[in-house]
């Protein structure tokens, strides 16, 4: 049983590292769509723009994942679990409105958004496993 749990944790760990690489490739493939989005969804004065919100989420999630990749752990686990739970990608109004509002377009960015949220869930799963 313990061995099975260890293997499962090991798999999640590998999955996180692999997903980090995959996200880099998906991000780079979204360049043309990002250029269009910059025009179609420009920043409004009092809010973060869609691209800025996406960048911030990317930085936060990749920050945790990179820390995990380079050190094999994430410090301040309980706090990070709380943060990750609050960081639901579709909880960000600009992202939700874009994701559900632009039917059949920007599929690369939508795929990027889903992959980003998957990374969040994997990190959460790994940390919650550890806290049991």
């Amino acid at each position: 049983m313990t061995e099975a749990i260890l293997n499962e944790q090991e798999l999640t760990k590998k999955n996180i590292v692999q997903l980090l690489e995959q996200l880099t490739n998906v991000y780079q493939a979204t360049r043309i769509e990002r250029q269009e989005i910059a025009i179609q969804f420009p920043p409004e004065n009092e809010e973060f723009s869609l691209l800025e919100e996406l960048e911030l989420l990317t930085v936060n999630l990749r920050g945790y994942a990179s820390q995990f990749q380079s050190t094999g752990r994430i410090v301040n686990k309980d706090h990070v679990i709380e943060q990750l739970q609050a960081m639901r990608v579709l909880n960000v109004p600009q992202i939700a409105s874009f994701y559900f509002g632009s039917n059949n377009s920007y599929e690369q960015i939508k795929s990027y958004i889903r992959t980003l949220d998957y990374l969040r869930l994997l990190l959460l799963e790994y940390l919650q496993f550890q806290s049991d």
């Binding site: 920043p43 800025e52 930085v59 936060n60 990749r62 920050g63």
Partner: protein, 82 residues
């Protein structure tokens, strides 16, 4: 949010530069050369609930967050049409 330490900063710098397909030092230089003077800041004062703020100037933006001493630190730098 991830705590800003020197190691976190250097890891992230390399990570962001690779993601954006730009050489790390060039990325660092661009981020540090961003001139906040005359940039639009959101929110105008203070920080959002997640402790972040963005500076915008032409097609560039800089997202910042205060560290534990209240000093504003660069979280990321981007170009909207890049």
């Amino acid at each position: 949010m991830p705590k800003i330490t020197a190691k976190y900063f250097s890891n992230n710098l390399l990570d962001h530069a690779a993601r954006k397909g730009i050489e790390a030092l060039k990325y660092l230089r661009k981020a540090h050369n961003f001139n906040k003077k005359g940039a639009i800041r959101v929110p105008k004062t203070g920080y959002r609930g997640d402790s972040s703020a963005v500076y915008r100037k032409s097609n560039e933006y800089l997202i910042v967050r205060p560290d534990q001493y209240g000093t504003e630190k660069i979280i990321t730098y981007g170009v909207n049409d890049d």
